[in-house]
Symmetry: C2
Subunit: 307 residues, 2 copies
DNA sequence: TTCCCTTACGGAACCCGTAAATATT
DNA sequence: AATATTTACGGGTTCCGTAAGGGAA
């Protein structure tokens, strides 16, 4: 009759609640988050409310649903925790099964020629090994490896020479350097800038760009371009040939790794005159597990220009 | 009547279970882990059993209680997840409160002179600011900051010149370099090796050591010494003067940062002839929060020899 | 009104503690 | 036999779903 009220299991934050918070923050909606999680809106609402009372902070503003600073920070932690849980589960799964199937993801511009040569060496070494390769956007390679959807992933990105890409928490996944390639600016044939030997970024700051976030994650480039938003269009696909076609059509410039492999009608390339920027390829795998992926790691390191 | 058996919430691993697993692995005993967690042995047993069935792997061997490879790996993940949860909670706590009390932890050999000068500058700049300083072993500084027990921590360790100490997951805590100091070997006065200009490690490999893991975390040194276990005694305290007294008593050599501050009767020092090893001090704080600790960061960076 | 989140409430599942059983030294 | 973990079982709590309530566009 008195206050036999039990506030709440003021225990530690639990994974369930953190996952719901993250879904709400990402979806911008309780309803959508619930659908994604397989709960009712009510359940998600209660979970977030429980977190908020437990922590004593409002985590998301409602109408519109938008994270508070505290909520955004907590969601960031939650994302890393959930990623680590994925990795943990995937690693455990590999403790028992050891199939003769090797699944590889590769971002489209991640040194496909090196991958090709390595896989060829692999097949001739062990013809019974079945290999599956899939193209994914660089942003999703970490999740693919972490969830165990693939055994290994080739990723590429823009960084400074010798500097790793820092794709996940240090030590969460194993990453091996594979290649570093100069960056070039591709332009439509006949573009006046093509006459130059090298191109500096400030020359290109005002030029229209064809941005392809799924092909070249270019935050580093944007940083150097300064606060000025690059003009131009966005190509959201995964196909380098389409990107080059858009450039050839005169829609703007694009930044790609120099590779003698990709040639296209109607485009020309000029070296990028920014020595601190380079295109780098790395191989991501789970740590502390063994399997057919180790063969790939070995073959790639053998073929790799790096080290 | 039939099989209305509900196997178990095959959901995600939950924090509670992971924490119990970690406690069991660390304690080497279900009973001790339960006591530490405030549960009964039975509860801990059930939690670990639940994890094992959910993941389909035996995680700890019983009698004696010892983690399997899979369990050890999972416990490692669990430790990092729990640390991140601590950080998250501490950060959230700082989103509201902003007291005029600054609490600092420092490992004993972490450039105490620099800290002193910085704190003096701080006090004269803001006399109303109350400052508490506490000495802790270097191994526990991360936990102190993560749990919010202190606002900042000065840590020292042995590393390679220019190389950070890598004390936590990258980006989990903010770390600022403060100082790098050469390492010296201290020996009892009259020791024949004191006549040399520099000492190489192989000369010292067979010599007796006074190891002080709470003063100089020396895994890096052990690595270089090779598989041969150093002989000698272990000093488990936090007091450099006691360490020097043990050395002066002739119990063995010790490795400490060169500092004109600490002088003791009966010991002499020789430079360590291993240029790849250096003593480094860093300052750890929470990220994304502000408070009186920012003043300390500023004052230390101003006084710091580095950068 | 409509949409979306919150609150109320009830039932089912979960989780931990007590206690008996079992295994190892 | 003593110590330590597992299993059985019961009670209290938590948690989610249904459904009603409320506020903003």
């Amino acid at each position: 009759m008195i206050d036999d009220v039990v506030i709440r299991n003021t225990d530690v934050m639990e994974i369930r609640d953190l996952r719901s918070l993250l879904a709400v923050v990402r979806c911008g909606s309780f309803t959508a988050a619930a659908a994604e999680l397989g709960y009712t809106q009510s359940a998600v609402s209660q979970q977030v409310a429980a977190l908020e009372t437990e922590l004593g902070h409002r985590l998301v503003e409602r109408r519109p649903v938008r994270p508070t600073p505290a909520g955004a920070r907590l969601a960031e932690h939650a994302a890393r925790i959930l990623l680590r849980l994925d990795v943990a589960r995937s690693e455990l799964a590999h403790f028992s099964a050891k199939p003769s199937l090797l699944t590889v993801a590769a971002s489209p511009l991640a040194s496909p020629l090196v991958l090709g040569r390595a896989l060829r060496a692999l097949s001739s070494a062990d013809p019974s090994l079945e290999v599956h390769v899939r193209s994914v956007a660089p942003q999703s390679t970490v999740a693919e490896v972490a969830s165990g959807a693939v055994d290994a992933a080739l990723v590429d990105g823009v960084t400074t020479p010798g500097e790793p890409l820092h794709l996940a928490d240090a030590g969460l996944l194993a990453s091996a350097p594979i290649a570093e390639t100069p960056l070039v600016v591709v332009l439509a044939t006949g573009h006046p800038l093509l006459r130059r030997e090298v191109l500096d970024l400030d020359v290109l700051a005002d030029a229209p760009w064809v941005r392809a976030p799924n092909l070249v994650a270019a935050e580093r480039v944007q940083d150097l371009l300064g606060p000025a938003r690059p003009t131009g269009i966005v190509y959201d696909g995964l196909d380098p040939v389409t990107l080059l076609a858009l450039v050839a059509a005169g829609l703007g410039a694009a930044l790609v790794p120099e590779t003698s492999f990709i040639r296209a009608e109607g485009v020309g390339a000029v070296a990028l005159g920014v020595p601190s920027l380079i295109h780098r390829t790395e191989l991501l795998t789970l740590r502390g597990t063994s399997g057919p992926k180790d063969l790939l790691v070995g073959a790639l390191r053998a073929k790799a220009p790096l080290r």
